[in-house]
Structure formats: C-alpha cells, structure tokens
Symmetry: C2
Subunit: 416 residues, 2 copies
C-alpha cells in the first residue's frame, strides 16, 4: 500500500497529450488555449478619442484662443478627418479616430456651444489629453495571452479583438465512466429492498463537466467474462476509463484481475487514505507508430499513447474525493502542462484522526476577513453521500499525525 | 449622479422571478434547484455491509466460537439471505444487505479460510461492526437538499440516489446583448484604420455563460429611427437587454433617449465609479394580466413583469466590471432569492486614488498561507482590454477616500 503523495506522483508522471482542436470563439470558453495570442495591430489601433467633446490644436490654445468654430463631427467608425483651420475645432466622439492636426480633446462638460462656436473656459490643457494613444496598451506583435491559459470571459474579449473567430484549444480525452455492482438500478427505477440507484457515474460525469469534459457512462454487470469483453472494447474506444466499484476484496470485485488479463499494467492498488483506500490505477500502452498510423496525424501526440484506467472504490464519497484528488490534477497536468497551485484553509476546530493514513475531511468553507476557514461537518463516515451535498470541500489531513489543531493550515480540495 | 451602493440597491430591488423549468438530471448541473429534495427512503435503505468478509452472530462469538462454516455468499444486489445455523457464517460483500441473524461483519483481512471454514483470530468484536445501519445517515422524508441551492456534482449524486431523473430548476431570463457603435466590425473581418472589432458582446455572452445563461447577441447601428424600432421589438422578445455603448454624451449616443421614448423608465444614469460611470439602468413594466394571459400560465411569475435594461458604457473594461458588479448580483438575487456573500481580499501594496468615486482596481489574486491577497496590475486605465486578461478580479475601493493601505481588506469581484 502506497501513500497519497506517491500515488499522486505516479499518476502525474503519466500525463498525456491529447493534441489540439480548433473551436469557435464562444465555444472556447472554459477550455485551455493552445496558441500564443498576439496583437494583430496596435492597441488602440489609432489615436483614439476617449471623451465626447471637441478636438482642438494645442498650439492655438497656448496662443490664447478660447473660442473655436466647429468645422464638423468626427464620429466613431468614420474615416479620419483633418482640421482645416488650426483656429477651429472638430466635434469628436468616444471611440473615434483623433482628427489630423488636433492634439487635445476637451469634453462637452467643460465647453459651451453657441451658434456653432465652442467656448472653452479652461486655463490649462495638456497635449494629448483625453486621447488614448495608438499602441499605448500594446504594440502589434505583443503577446496578449500566452498559451496554456484557461479561457475566461476576459480572454474571449481579447480573442474577439484580434480577430480569432476560431481558437486552438486542448482536445479533451475521450472518457468512459463505468459503474459496476449488481445492486445498482437506474435513476428512474424504484429500487427493490436490496438495491440502490446508480449515482456515482452521474456525480463523476458532473465533475468532469466542471472541467468541460463531456463523458459517456455505461454499466457493466459483475460477471468476469462479459466484464472482460466490455473492458477490452472500451480500452480501444476511449482514452480514459473511470470505474466506480469492484476494486476491493469482494468475491465479485473482478476489475483489477480483468484489467491485468487485458494487459493494463497495474501501477498501484490501495492508497493509505480514508476514504478511498482501494483505489486501483493502471495504464495500457498502445504502440500507434507500429500500427502504421500516419506520422503527420500523430505529431501532436506522444508516439506511444497510453490508455488510463482510474478504478475508484464504489462508495460515493470515495469515488468523489478520488476523482478530485487524482483525476483532476492528472487532467490539468495533461492539458495545462502543470498542476494548479494547492489552496490552503485554516482548520476551524481541533480534530483528531488516529489511523496512519491521509484523511480527507469533509468541510464547509467560509471566508472570514479575507481568510479561508474550513469547518468539519458532523459526518457519519465515508459512505454518506448526503453529507457531500452539505459540505463544500475536503481538507487533506496528512498521515502520521493524530492531532490537528485549530488554526493550522491544510490543503483544501474544493468542489463548490 | 448616484453612488455605487445606491445603484446596487436600486437594481437589487428590481429582482425578477422567471419561474421554474424541469430539466434532465445532468442538465441541472450549475443551475439553481427550485424544489426541496427529500430522502425517498432511509439512507442507507438497509443494514448495509461495508467490508468484504463474513457475517456472523455476535452471540456465538461471545460464547467463544472462532471457527465458522461458510453457509453461502450474500452478494451486493441479491435479496437478503438468512443465517440458518447461528454457529455458521455467510460471506458478505460490500454493498450487500446484512443477512438475517448476523450482526457482526469481520473483514477478510482478519480471517483465514480453509476448506470452507473461516477462522477468526480476534478476541473482541463489536455488535454491528462494519455495518452501515439502515437510516443512519438520513431517514425517509429528511430534507437532503433545500431549494435555492446551486447544483454541483455533489447534488447530482444525491438527486440520482433519490430517483430524480428530472429536476426542477430556476428558469433563466431571455437575454439579448446588443452592441452599438459604427466603428465596430465582426470578429472575422479585418478592420479598416478607423475601425475595431466587436468584442464586448462576446465578453458579455461569455460572462453570462458562466452563470449558465445562453444569450443572443445583435448589433444595432447608430441611427435613432432604426434603433428605436429594433429596441421596441427586443423589449417584446426578451426579458433583459444588455447594451454596450452609446450611453455617454456623444452626438450618436441615442440609447438613453430612445429607451425613454419607448417607456423604459430610467432609474439612474451615471454612477460615481471608475471605470463604468455612464451606466444607464431602467425597466419597462408589461402588465401581463391585463393583456388577458392565462392565469395558470402566469402563476409562477410576478403578475406585472418588468423588462430590465442594463445599458453599459462601451469601453471594454467598463462593460465587463459593470456586468459583474450589477448584473451578476441582480441575477443571483432573482434566482436564489438572495445575494451571495462578498469575498474580501488584502490589498498587497499602498494605493492612491484621488477622485471621489468608487474605484474598481484590476488585480491579480493569490493565496498566501490561507489568505487572499490582491496585487494591482500596472494598468493603463479603463480602456485596456488586454489587462483584463492579465488580471483575475477587481478590488472595489470605496469612494471618499484617497489612500488605501497595504494589508487593508476590500471586497473583491473575481472572474477567474
């Protein structure tokens, strides 16, 4: 039995590269950018008026002029005009190009217009005031968004500005989520006394949707032969298999055995943690180059593509915490190239946990004066699905300690 | 000109009720639950075995017996068996119903099986050990998830367990996002020297998608007559209109005027804030009952339905911060019935801002020992879209102060 950090290390060392795909602008939201986004023009692309008012010549103002005949209007979206007489002005609108031979913008609030003449009651103006200078924010060719960034609404705005109607993003792995356990019936069924409804596959499917991954689900019955056939087919059709159940020591826990007969290499089975101990993880290598695949098609991939098998224990909280603790970082490392920073929270009360294993404590989170505080739920152990909906996160309490003190900081795995 | 808290108050007092809709289980992820979810059965629904091993009678163990002939196997998903002879045992699997007349489960790790006889090498066992008692977590009829909760993967699991293949959630308002400004061209177009690409509508559309709202976008040209016609139609077809641009003092800023001629009541125009000052907000009341609508159909709605108009200034950062600061809380109050708690962050450096208005400072966020810290970006003012992609959030610095000190706590509006 290995410990949690060893398990994490093994999983992360098996990060995969699923290549890239081009998607429409709005569809790129939430995905991982796979191209550097450069400015296709200066930002702003011209000396841009940023107040509604008049554009004048600084020189004429410094020579004492305070009344300007209005020559015309420079609207946003119109080609650049020129000031014909330096003693006149042009009305200028926010977003418009600054007219040629004007270099000061004075807002309407500070002028009075009578009979086509703008009267300025200011003593001082600054050259280029209220003008957003061409290229001030960014120069053409500047890096606006580096690749491997998760695309939020802010990136969508920048991508639109530089004309990216199609965006290169990380491709998702094809994931199948499998339930096993003959006690399970469909959500729409009424269970008999000895049955319960399938729920883990839906929790997992929902967790993966939070990452943007649309996965499929299946149910395999607990019979060795059919299980073997189903898994063999699934290993060909999917990149990642997530199992829930049948990895423990029961008479019908065939998953580890069947996987090994199908040449899925076991990398570990059982982790020193609670809940989620009987977790099984393995990979199967498909040598694609030897299978005669087009080299061009595989260049975005590792040449040997591995299928990943995360076989989680069947209890709902075990499956849930293992997906967050192991699948999520593996996915992030695979698509971002690096793991995300671990957030820490302060334990709100003293807490004891005796066994020498990592404990994933169900907690509610709240912010108190800018500090993240984690309060343990009064839980009933790892099987309590309903508690999962009352908590916000798991606090990861390290192994080899028994007493955890109020105010101490521990890594937090949040799902809300 | 009103201040930020007044603007918020006015907007929040116009929360709406868009009723409810039934969606499939997985589609309910991210939406707001609109029914109390009760346990349809005890949790667990039977005395549930939670270790693979054997089930024995406590009485026979206390009488000294340590060897048990195996009578049979109680698999998960099989109807409950009975122990025929109290001196025998039944092999029991995780998830199975505890057999009648057994009340102790001993895991395989602690027994040895030879020739169909399980030998126990323990001195002490506890009644009901390794058994998850019927109804221990929840009783039939218990409230598992109260309504108005945002549905995460944890709730999906619970909903599945209680058989909710359809879930009642809050209906989204129908939102139209409108760009104006004749300088704007499509994302796929190459702008002329005096033009820029449309980007705000896509940022807004993406922000709304973060709330789960699928919105539509349109572009209206800056001409009073056509604008009036387009807006009139949109007010009939949509619940909420979000504008970006044409609310300032320019010659072509027709939006406020046109809205008022269409009987959209102005509730305020201009807020003491930077960026985003020229924000216009108003509502139009449609009296649906008087229009002869079926009472049954309107029972989930307020009888008078108001159309909301958020007319944001056209500069990208203004639009963005106003959507987060005003539309988001309005939406939350409308669908959850309450606003979410404001998160606070520590300012990382001393910062000065002179004008007497609320300043929305662009910051990067990081966690330091469980504390949220906000570091200002070196920004170039409100027009800098590219900075938006470099920052994570806005720190809301209150008006009527100039100096903001390192370590002080301020509300943070995060978008990443």
């Amino acid at each position: 039995m290995i410990n949690v950090s060893e398990a994490s290390q093994i999983i992360l060392s098996h990060k995969q590269n699923y290549g890239v795909v081009s998607v429409g602008l709005i569809d790129s939201l939430g995905r991982v950018l796979k191209e550097d986004v450069l400015a296709d023009n200066d930002f702003p692309p011209f000396n841009r008026v940023c107040m509604d008012g008049i554009g004048i010549s600084f020189k004429s103002f410094s020579q004492g002029r305070r009344e300007y005949k209005i020559e015309g209007v420079q609207a946003a979206g119109s080609p650049q005009k020129s000031l014909l007489d330096p003693n006149n002005c042009i009305e200028v609108m926010t977003g418009a190009v600054l007219p040629v031979d004007t270099d000061v913008v004075i807002p309407y609030e500070l002028i009075e217009i009578v009979d086509g003449v703008a009267k300025v009651s200011l003593d001082v103006v600054t050259k280029m005031q209220n003008i957003h200078l061409k290229g001030r924010d960014k120069r053409v060719g500047d890096l606006l968004i580096p690749k491997n960034r998760k695309i939020t609404a802010a990136e969508i705005g920048v991508l639109a500005t530089v004309g990216k109607s199609e965006v290169l993003v990380a491709k998702h792995p094809k994931v199948l989520i499998v339930s096993t356990g003959d006690e399970l019936v469909e959500v729409s069924d009424v269970p008999l006394q000895h049955q319960i409804r399938r729920s883990n596959v839906y929790s997992l499917q929902a967790l993966l949707l939070e990452l943007g991954i649309v996965s499929e689900t299946k149910h395999f019955v607990d019979a060795k032969e059919s299980l073997s056939k189903e898994i063999a087919t699934s290993l060909e059709q999917y990149d990642v298999l997530l199992f829930s159940g049948a990895v423990s020591k029961g008479k019908f826990d065939f998953i580890p055995e069947v996987l090994e007969t199908l040449s899925v290499q076991k990398l570990f089975h059982r982790v020193k943690q609670r809940p989620g101990k009987p977790f099984w993880f393995g990979t199967k290598v498909f040598d694609r180059v030897n299978k005669g695949m087009d080299e061009e098609k595989t260049k975005n991939f590792d040449t040997q593509k591995q299928k990943m098998v995360f076989a989680f224990p069947g209890n709902p909280v075990s499956t849930y915490v293992n997906c967050l603790k192991y699948f999520f970082p593996w996915y992030e490392k695979s698509v971002f190239g690096q793991e995300s920073e671990m957030e820490l929270a302060h334990l709100s009360v003293d807490f004891n946990f005796m066994p020498s294993m990592t404990y994933f404590l169900q907690v509610k989170l709240h912010h108190k004066e800018g500090v993240l505080v984690a309060s343990p739920l009064k839980g009933n152990g790892s099987g309590d699905l309903a508690n999962l909906a009352e908590a916000d996160a798991f606090l990861e309490l390290p192994q080899d300690r028994i007493a955890f003190k109020k105010g101490e900081l521990f890594p937090v795995i949040r799902y809300r």
